[in-house]
């Protein structure tokens, strides 16, 4: 073979040469470096500046972290240990304050023998949230979700076991009234009367029912007053309650704002714009100072409940605006198609409009939730002990931990970061899961 060819076209090579390795500048780490860090003079400059920032951060903060002391009983001991180990003038973190006082950061002044109750409430919270967040889990777990509000309340505040039972009884009564009326053909009266009966029951009957049950079978656990709450127990309680309540309220406000009924629309707009126009602090002030003026003389209800109501209003107004954006972004055809199918307003909303609008609004809703959770730190200004300032100041007020600034900030900030980062990652996951186009 080769001979014949060699005679006819001598310059044709007939065997493939083995592939050469790419030039060293076009392969592996060098290529990556050239493309991502040094692709031009400007990029190189940026890289150098970024590296300088990193070096500066490392030089200034790394020793402080590395010299950290975990075993000490006071700041003075911390400093002594650092000076001993690293020489005079060395700085270092005094993590001992976290080691010593972490129960206060997490639980506030909750009685220490009852720490298991908030912990159990938190564990159950995750169990109750799981079926809502991940639809692949068995639906039977939703029973726990439905029972959780009462259970969580009982675990956190304690008191009579019959209180949540009496409250839940209201739902049962409402359901019975609703279904019996609906069966009798009163489709419109059923929800109205059902709601009214439940409201009247809660206002006038549930208290006596609870006391009667308690008298028959006394069953209660040690109750914990609201002023013992503090730290992350307080933040998470307020955050979770307000998140759970503000979503339905926000949806209703958004629907109200887009309603054809002039009065409903005006009231929704007024509420939303008012709440969004004032800082949360002034609303919390209203809760702590002014609510007593606007309620019947002699009424006095729990400060945590007041704060939850105000935070709920606050984030509901923001969520309403986010959902309004989602409703406006839906193509008109969806509304018209729902009408053409003969669906009434609530069915159209429930089956066609809201599932799509909420899907669009997920990022905004979750970022509102994150904002809400961060804003729970503001309760310090109405005298509740939030983990950030309330507890930190309380810890710093003791003689042995006077002058500790950065460690508590880092610890509390890290916990907030973990919660909020997890929430934002979950929202990204949800967006991906619900994406219907481009599959």
């Amino acid at each position: 073979m080769s001979d014949t060819h060699a005679e006819t076209v001598p310059y044709v090579r007939e065997t493939m040469l083995p592939q050469l390795a790419p030039p060293s500048s076009q392969a592996g780490a060098v290529k990556w470096l050239r493309e991502n860090l040094f692709s031009g003079w400007f990029n190189t400059l940026l890289t150098v500046l970024g590296a300088l920032v990193l070096v500066w951060l490392a030089v200034h903060f790394l020793p402080w972290f590395l010299h950290g002391v975990w075993n000490a009983n006071s700041v003075a001991e911390c400093r002594e240990a650092i000076a001993q180990a690293w020489g005079d003038g060395a700085t270092g973190a005094c993590w001992a304050v976290i080691r010593e006082r972490w129960p206060q950061f997490l639980f506030g002044f909750y009685p220490s023998e009852l720490y298991w109750r908030p912990v159990l409430a938190l564990v159950l919270l995750f169990a109750a949230l799981a079926p809502v967040l991940f639809p692949s889990l068995p639906r039977g777990m939703m029973a726990l979700t439905a029972l959780y509000p009462g259970l969580g309340y009982l675990l956190l505040w304690g008191g009579s076991f019959w209180f949540p039972v009496a409250v839940y009884l209201g739902f049962v009564i409402g359901y019975v009234v609703f279904t019996s009326l609906a069966k009798a053909g009163q489709a419109l009266l059923a929800p109205i009367l059902g709601g009214l009966v439940v409201l009247l029951y809660w206002l006038f009957l549930s208290g006596p029912v609870e006391r009667a049950l308690e008298a028959v079978i006394p069953l209660s656990i040690q109750s914990v007053p609201s002023n013992a709450f503090g730290g992350f127990v307080l933040s998470i309680t307020i955050g979770v309650a307000a998140i759970a309540l503000s979503l339905p309220m926000g949806i209703l406000l958004a629907l109200g704002r887009r309603s054809d009924m002039l009065l409903v629309k005006a009231l929704s707009v007024g509420f939303i714009e008012f709440i969004r126009g004032v800082p949360l602090i002034t609303l919390l002030f209203t809760a702590s100072l002014l609510l007593n003026y606007f309620l019947p003389p002699g009424t006095n209800f729990d400060i945590i409940l007041r704060v939850v109501i105000m935070v709920t209003f606050f984030s509901a107004a923001y969520i309403a605006e986010v959902i309004r954006g989602g409703l406006a972004a839906l193509p008109r055809g969806q509304y018209e198609a729902a009408d053409a199918l003969g669906l009434d307003y609530w069915k159209a909303m429930r089956l066609i409009i809201l599932p799509q609008a909420l899907k669009i609004s997920i990022p905004g809703i979750v970022s509102t939730f994150i904002g809400l959770f961060k804003d729970t730190t503001l309760v310090i200004f109405v005298g509740l002990l939030d983990p950030l300032k309330g507890i930190t100041d309380a810890v710093r007020a003791s003689i042995e931990w006077k002058g500790v600034y950065w460690e508590p900030f880092i610890f509390v900030g890290l916990i907030f970061f973990i919660f909020n980062f997890a929430m934002s990652r979950y929202s990204m996951h949800l967006e991906r899961r619900l994406r219907r186009e481009h599959r």
Partner: protein, 424 residues
């Protein structure tokens, strides 16, 4: 097919109020109105009865009484002999001051971070992502407190700036030195240079507060220069449209804007009053309190993370086809940015940006955490505690914040209407 000759005359039955969609909305609205009015009446009645029980009345007369407390950082004349109303005004101006400072700084920082986050540089992109995630997932209160701790705990004391003769002789540097020889950051506050006029025109009183005539003159001259520059540009556009050649304008517009200003400043004898160490503290210049600096820095760092995300999303929202089309038309990259990308990106960026400004204004009420006397600290703080008029103070404070918010959102709506895509 038989057509009904006389369709049955519709009679109005009471049940139609509930079951006929034509009337149902009216029924619902009437019920809602009644409930709403009943609720308002109930609240008002409770308030009246509670006030009676406490022996208080509802009036704002207390605003004209002597306030009796001092405020550290003031923009207008104020002493503890001034009225509560004036304290409120001082607080409002302080709120607006820190909000404006934070808006400007956060916008600059946020735009830089947002653009850098889009850069192809791996290291810088990661650093900026880290910045954004760190600052927006942690409460702003923490950043304000951290900034305050930095300013009060880490910064040097004024005496660290002192240079003694012995130190001078041995060539030893002091423990701390001023930035550019003009700004001294100490744990008692930050001293910055102060603009002074040796041939000042004095102040005029506007009734409520005094305004420096020098400042007014500078602003008028500046506005005049900008107006002249605009006229010049219009003229240049006209010439360009007519002849195709644009006259050179850059040095003319520089001259128009800065020439008269420089002349005016020279005439007024403008110079900077630098802070100097005298005794135990810095004298001269303007002393900015640590609380203001901390609030400003905390709000800036926090909000910049959000603004960076807005800027990034706005630029990413412009489809690649737009820039490709602009290149195909032969536009150079910077003109593509100015004429094609930015106008479209700004339409996406500006509305959320303005709502971030609104958030800064509202978050500035966290001033209470560092003891900066803003509206919340004066009207909703000391005045409230001294006079015991919670209802009036909190309502007035809400009204003022609401007015600021509505003004800002009014600006936003006007902008939205101006740049809205015109559709069917």
């Amino acid at each position: 097919m038989a057509i009904a000759e006389n369709p049955p005359k519709e009679t109005f039955r009471l049940s139609m109020l509930l079951y006929d969609t034509r009337y149902r909305s009216i029924t619902i609205q009437v019920i809602v109105l009644m409930l709403f009015m009943a609720g308002v009446a109930w609240l008002a009645d409770n308030a009246v009865r509670n006030l009676q029980a406490l022996g208080k009345d509802f009036n704002f007369g207390f605003l004209w009484n002597r306030s009796g407390y001092d405020i550290g950082q003031v923009l207008i004349q104020y002493s503890n002999d001034s009225s509560h109303a004036r304290a409120m005004l001082v607080g409002l101006l302080n709120t607006l001051l820190v909000a404006a400072m934070a808006c400007v700084a956060a916008t600059i920082l946020g735009v830089v971070i947002g653009v850098l986050r889009l850069s192809s540089n791996w290291l810088v992109g990661r650093l900026m992502t880290f910045y954004v995630e760190m600052f927006r997932n942690i409460p702003v209160l923490l950043w304000i407190l951290v900034a305050y701790a930095v300013f009060t705990e880490v910064t040097p004391q004024p005496r660290d700036f002192r240079v003694t003769p012995e130190m001078e002789a041995s060539g030893q540097a002091p423990a701390a030195s001023m930035i550019l020889d003009a700004i001294a950051v100490t744990n008692r506050g930050t001293s910055i240079p102060e603009p002074l006029f040796s041939r000042s025109l004095g102040n005029i009183s506007l009734g409520i507060f005094d305004v420096s005539v020098d400042l007014i003159a500078v602003l008028i001259v500046l506005a005049g220069g900008l107006w002249a520059r605009r006229a010049l540009n219009t003229h240049a556009n006209k010439v360009q449209n007519a002849t195709g050649v644009r006259p050179v304008t850059w040095w003319k517009s520089l001259l128009l804007v800065f020439g008269p200003l420089a002349v005016l400043l020279a005439v007024l004898g403008f110079h900077l009053g630098l802070p100097e160490l005298a005794g135990f503290n810095f004298q001269g210049g303007i002393l900015v309190s640590n609380s203001l600096m901390a609030l400003w820095l905390g709000l800036t760092l926090y909000t910049a993370a959000f603004i960076a995300e807005i800027v990034r999303a706005g630029i990413a929202a412009i489809s690649k086809g737009q820039s490709e089309a602009a290149f195909a038309l032969g536009l150079r990259p910077n003109r593509t940015m100015n004429l094609v990308i930015l106008p479209q990106a700004l339409r996406v960026i500006v509305p959320p940006l303005i709502s971030q400004y609104l958030n800064i204004t509202k978050n500035s009420s966290l001033a209470i955490a560092v003891g900066y006397m803003d509206l919340r600290g004066t009207l909703g703080g000391i005045t409230l505690n001294q006079t015991g008029r919670e209802l009036e103070c909190v309502l007035l404070m809400m009204l003022i914040y609401l007015t600021i918010s509505l003004l800002i959102s009014g600006v936003m709506n006007a902008y939205n209407n101006r740049v809205r895509l015109k559709e069917r």
